[in-house]
Amino acid sequence: MDEKIKQALIEIVGKENYTDSLIDMVSFSYDASEHSHRPACAVWPSDADQVAKILRLANSEKIPVIPRGAGTGLSGMAVPIKGGIILDLSHMNRIVKISIEDRLAVVKPGVVYVDLEKALEPFGFFFPPDPASGKVSTLGGNVATNAGGLKGAKYGTTRDYVLGLQVVLPDGRIMRTGSKAMKSVSGYDLTRLFVGSEGTLGVVTEITLKINPKPTATSTALATFDSLADAGNAINQIMHSGIIPSALEILGRETLAAINENTDLNLPEVDAMLLAETDGYTREETDYQIKKVIQVFEENNAREVKQARTDKEVEDLWAARKSAYAVLARIKTHFVLEDVTVPMTHIAELLKGVEEISRRHDIQIATFGHAGDGNLHPQILYDGYDQEQVRRMEAASADLFKLAIDLDGTLTGEHGIGLAKAPYMTLEHDPVAMDVMRHVKKMFDPNNILNPGKMGLEE
């Protein structure tokens, strides 16, 4: 980093909050994806004013700035692909206010998801999205990727809960979006533009979230299937059961085997397992709902259906599901985790299609995911040091995206485009939409300094 810029940054954040030492540069080169690139330096700002000063400086010197939370993104959003300054927001980790009467929580972007959960628990409230990375990921990151999670089918995603934001624009101006009122349609919905924008339009420095009372009872059931097609049909039919489960997850054969290696759960290793949860305020209510789900399972040739009986059983099952992708990492040296999402009517076809792609390219693909909202997580496992396998992985990825689009789906349900899916944007978005997106980016960031090189927007 240029000495003059370095001194300017140190003046803004203080010496202890600036680094360009090797060990920091290496760790900031990565997120949870396979992409990496060295930044020039990193800073830890402590408030919006410091963020504004940093962006103003970077904008005038044309230096890339990459906002970062916990760095657990799966598509390379936080990877500094064009070098530049990492803006690590983890020091901005205060929960500013919780107002139960107004049904909202105001937080700084560096607050870890699970810390907000802990703070809301004594009030009997929660912030629903529940991403699998919740123990580590920050709310700023959740907003940047519109994080989904296990409760998506019933409760929606992060975007459904963001009432307002404080954002610093690439030129250093600070603005507020949204309202503390529970609903507002005043002016353009700028909040929605920023949520899921992957840190390319502005840096979020404060978030106002809507929170829900937390249902106190849950029922959990699992079912095994000898064929993916049966599981797919079961998922589809749940919508006809009259209830929406609070979670409906699918686990494929490889995933089950990998989980067994990591835990003592001894899950049956079958072609597909469905894990369902229903929630409510009384045991009768949740059991009534789960029985409907169980009925659908049975009507679709489930081999075995079981309701979890103890708290520990339930805890273990969901912990196992949340660790699925990392557990699968034990199998090969590298992996790519996709999150293609399709309308529910096409989920059975998607499952079948994934199997076919795996056979066609002779590459291992493990499956699991949020069946409840059509969001599958096919994980391609390969030896990254073998060029042949890398080639096959890339071909399989491309086919996977084409399949999802052909089935009226989307490239990414919740992980974002980042770097990983950038080459496929035009598969999903028509030329007019792409043009509009590029213009929006240019309007916010004419010098293209904020997280450049992402989302396939550069031509």
């Binding site: 030492s21 060990i23 580590v136 990392a326 990492a329």
Partner: protein
């Protein structure tokens, strides 16, 4: 496979299994206190991957992270990919020392233990008002921290053993030197020989120790196999005290901090609690307990090499003591006592004790 680094030969596959999920960030005490990704397990694995790929060298620049790890194993315990980070770190440190890159505090420790009997280079321990090296059923092995930094808990432990009429003796002990193996060096054979000779001279059938680290060293390390072959048992004081009744109680709210070296590393969780429940009617658990206990920050040499961060880690643990409203926090590792006591803020009114010290105080008051 041929590699210039031993850590690569032993652990390459494991290091590659790190999927960069970052789940370790949730439990790493160093990350929790500093919020610096380079210091967390994932950061360390990323560095090692680049070393293995030849992109960077294993040199001085890596000291700050590779020698700053308490080896608490909370990361390993929570790693879905099963990467044993502490074992990998210990192996890397050996390679780094061979390559000439080591934290000065540990180089210093290695030199000190060549010439001195303890890690602090102190010449004289407290005599604890007791004869050493006599014939007895038990040897009480104090450990360096207990001898030179936390003499009050040690004195209390000895007073307690006297009250319980245990036939024990102290010895002219020297550092077990187990810590050296974890920071890139090796156990000092001459120190191990001295300890074993003194222990065997006493004719004792069992060694009781208050230091979980010495406990592990005597039980696991090759250099102490002669002791085990001679049939001498080594127990930690919490295991020893389980069978005693003390006849005293407190109604103060008490909590227990699991030392990493006793808990996650040895699986000893219930014995200390059994003992505490005998004397405390209001016992509460901190949110992160047993295998999930949050490290106090002293281990792996971090208190010596990175004291400020070490105390910051202890401070984080003490927030949980406050959270559960405990008036007394007990633990049975002098390093934990030392770090937690140092980190306690003046406005925090709870007290930090070793379990033995607390029981002894209760018995003293009852007299």
């Amino acid at each position: 496979m041929e590699s210039k680094y031993e850590f690569e030969e032993k652990y390459r596959e494991q290091i590659l299994k790190c999927s960069r999920c970052g789940f370790c960030q949730a439990v790493c005490p160093v990350y929790g206190a500093t919020l610096r990704p380079a210091l967390n397990a994932r950061g360390k694995m990323l560095l090692l991957k680049e070393v293995m790929d030849g992109k960077i060298g294993l040199d001085d620049q890596l000291i700050e992270t590779l020698f700053q790890c308490t080896t608490c194993a909370n990361c390993f315990h929570n790693c879905p990919s099963g990467v044993d980070v502490p074992e990998i770190i210990k192996a890397v440190r050996q390679d780094m020392v061979r390559a000439g890159s080591c934290h000065p505090a540990f180089e210093g420790m290695n030199e000190v233990l060549e010439k001195h009997t303890n890690i602090y280079a102190e010449d004289e321990p407290e005599d604890f008002e007791r004869v050493r090296n006599r014939k007895a059923e038990y040897v009480y092995f104090i450990g360096c921290v207990g001898s030179y930094r936390e003499d009050e808990p040690t004195m209390a432990a000895l007073d307690l053993l006297d009250r319980l009429k245990v036939d024990y003796t102290l010895i002219d002990e020297v550092c077990c030197s187990g810590v050296l193996e974890d920071v890139g060096f090796s156990i000092k054979e001459h120190l191990a020989e001295k300890n074993m000779a003194l222990i065997l001279e006493t004719g004792a059938g069992t060694v009781i120790t208050g230091c979980p680290y010495c406990f592990r060293t005597f039980n696991d390390k090759l250099q102490y196999s002669r002791l085990r072959e001679a049939g001498v048992k080594v127990v930690h004081i919490t295991q020893f005290l389980q069978d005693f009744g003390f006849g005293v109680k407190t109604d103060k709210r008490v909590t227990y901090h699991d030392p990493c070296d006793l808990g996650r590393h040895c699986g000893i969780y219930e014995e200390p609690r059994n003992t505490i429940r005998k004397i405390a009617t209001d016992f509460v658990e901190m949110p992160d307990n047993r295998e999930n206990a949050l490290c106090c920050g002293a281990g792996g040499g971090v208190r010596g090499a990175y004291a400020k961060n070490s105390i910051a880690m202890a401070r984080r643990r003490l927030e949980q003591v406050e959270e559960v409203g405990a008036e007394i926090v007990l633990t049975e590792c002098n390093s934990c006592v030392h770090n937690l006591a140092n980190a306690k803020l003046r406005r925090q009114k709870f007290r930090v004790y070793s379990t033995t010290e607390f029981i002894n105080e209760l018995m003293e008051e009852a007299e």
